[in-house]
């Protein structure tokens, strides 16, 4: 039924991917990714305390940006696909933000130390109550 296609929209092969003729960018990205993996491994095993999480997440974000933009060709994709991806990330952040904010802003009272162990089925297997280590202060 392709006759009905408007003449202006004639069938023609893909003509995007200007760089598709070279595999070099993929190789570069691959090497950079491996480098960042090493970096995150090194910083991760250093146990930097407060900084560990931000650093690790920052590296992970850079890595995933590379994968998304180059491997997944988002760089050359249409605006709509980019919007889809960004929206998904926004909603991911939204869910995490308000949920963690809830836990983080509850009054102390609401989650007393050791509270998760306050109920009947609370003891870990093999331990009696008095043997149980107290929950450490956070």
């Amino acid at each position: 039924m392709a006759e009905s296609a408007l003449p202006s929209e004639k069938l023609h092969p893909d003509r995007e991917e200007p760089h598709a003729h070279s595999a070099v960018p993929y190789v570069i990205v691959w090497i950079v990714l491996l480098f960042f993996t090493a970096l995150t491994y090194v910083t991760g095993t250093m146990h930097l305390g407060k900084w560990a999480l931000p650093i690790a997440l920052a590296i992970a974000c850079v890595k995933s940006a590379l994968v998304v933009l180059i491997f997944m060709h988002l760089k050359e994709s249409s605006g709509t696909t980019r919007l889809v991806f960004v929206t998904a990330l926004i909603f991911l952040g939204l869910l995490m933000f308000f949920t963690v904010a809830d836990v983080a802003t509850r009054f102390k009272l609401a989650t007393p130390a050791g509270a998760p162990f306050g109920t009947e089925r609370s003891q870990p297997e093999g331990l009696l109550e008095h043997e149980m280590p107290a929950e450490p202060e956070q």
Binding site: L109, A110, P112, A115, T119, R121, Q123, E125, L127, L128
Partner: protein
């Protein structure tokens, strides 16, 4: 005016210090709702009458709203909504922030009963006694699933969660009796998980507390109250307690955590009990029953096998009552001493 609207809207009595303030906003919001929905409906009807179709080929002009009109559509409702939000939220914060001079009562919910424990005194099942005119803070937790502590006349409600504490507070205006309803679905008994708040004159309350401390409390609350719907399960526990006393269990077993001739019953249910042969066992209903029928079979590590068998001495229903009673003995249900246990942390920002 307040009274009229309250009755028209079927709102229950205003028996706490919040109730009136909450209702005031309620009236404002609901009246606006009525006005707006009627206005929209009426406009539609008016337009229908005014602009009836007159012929089958009628054409109509192309009309687009001016920008100011769209702006009006946004700003008018928005200002109402925001006004409500600020009025409501300040009241909400008040309700969520117990005053520091509150009297604490621990509430433990379980399928399907309410248990109240006063820091320095008695426990009660399904009946909460409070003095009128005092700020009362409830520190609540649940044994099993989520419940919700609801007293319509006080306009208070808060979910009661297992594994953590939630709190709420109120200040009852007048002596009287008010129903406690469970407002979070919790199973077959959800709709009969009811209790009663008895608001007493401060002096009566003091008297009651004193007599309760002298040990009469259990008798008082054990007797059937005027609430005919008191769930049978509460009575089962009371029965178990009585039977245990009659059979002399308390000679060897304590209910407050101290070790006696036999292991304490406090927190026994679902305890992982270590037997003298080194095996770990889950103290479930079956095990509890077995322990009464054939105590020598599974002997708890560190105890002598001196417990007599009660086979034939207690009937089936009595065993059930005993088990139910043992199950009810859970440490965070009956917390005595000053209210600074794990649940207590002064509310911030005050």
């Amino acid at each position: 005016m307040n009274e009229l609207l309250r009755r028209l809207l079927f709102l229950p009595d205003q028996a706490s210090t919040f109730a009136r303030d909450v209702d005031q906003l309620h009236f404002f919001v609901i009246l606006t709702t009525f006005v707006m929905s009627t206005a929209v409906g009426m406009t539609a009807v008016f337009f229908f009458i005014r602009y009836r179709r007159r012929s089958e080929t009628q054409t109509t002009p192309h009309i687009e709203p001016p920008a100011w009109m769209e702006a009006l559509f946004v700003t008018v409702p928005l200002s109402f909504f925001l006004l409500w939000f600020f009025m409501g939220f300040s009241e909400f914060v008040r309700q969520q922030t117990p005053p520091s001079d509150s009297m604490d009562v621990y509430v433990m919910a379980k399928k399907w009963m309410w248990k109240f424990a006063y820091p320095d005194g008695p426990n009660a099942i399904n009946v909460l006694r409070v003095p009128a005119g005092r700020n009362v803070r409830l520190l609540m937790t649940s044994r099993d699933v989520i419940h919700s502590f609801y007293v319509p006349e006080f306009r208070i409600k808060k979910d009661v969660l297992p594994g953590r504490y939630t709190d709420q507070w109120f200040n009852a205006l007048e002596p009287g009796r008010y129903q406690i309803l469970c407002a979070e679905y919790c199973g077959a008994g959800h709709s009969i998980m009811r209790g009663e708040v008895i608001v007493m004159k401060p002096q009566d309350y003091e008297d009651w507390l004193a007599s309760a401390k002298r040990g009469l409390a259990s008798r008082q609350d054990g007797a059937p109250t005027s609430i005919d719907f008191a769930p049978p399960i509460g009575n089962l526990i009371e029965q178990g307690k009585r039977i245990a006393a009659e059979q002399g269990c308390f000679k060897c077993h304590s209910t407050d955590g101290t070790r006696h001739i036999g292991p304490t019953w406090l927190d026994l249910y679902h305890r992982r009990e270590k037997l003298n042969d080194g095996k770990l066992i889950d103290a479930d209903e079956a095990y509890l029953t077995r322990s009464m029928m054939d105590p020598a079979l599974e002997v708890v590590d560190g105890f002598q096998p001196v417990m007599p068998s009660f086979e034939g001495r207690v009937s089936g229903p009595e065993v059930a009552a005993l088990v139910e009673y043992i199950k009810s003995l859970q440490s965070d249900a009956v917390r005595t001493g000053p209210s600074e246990g794990p649940a207590y942390a002064p509310v911030r920002n005050r």
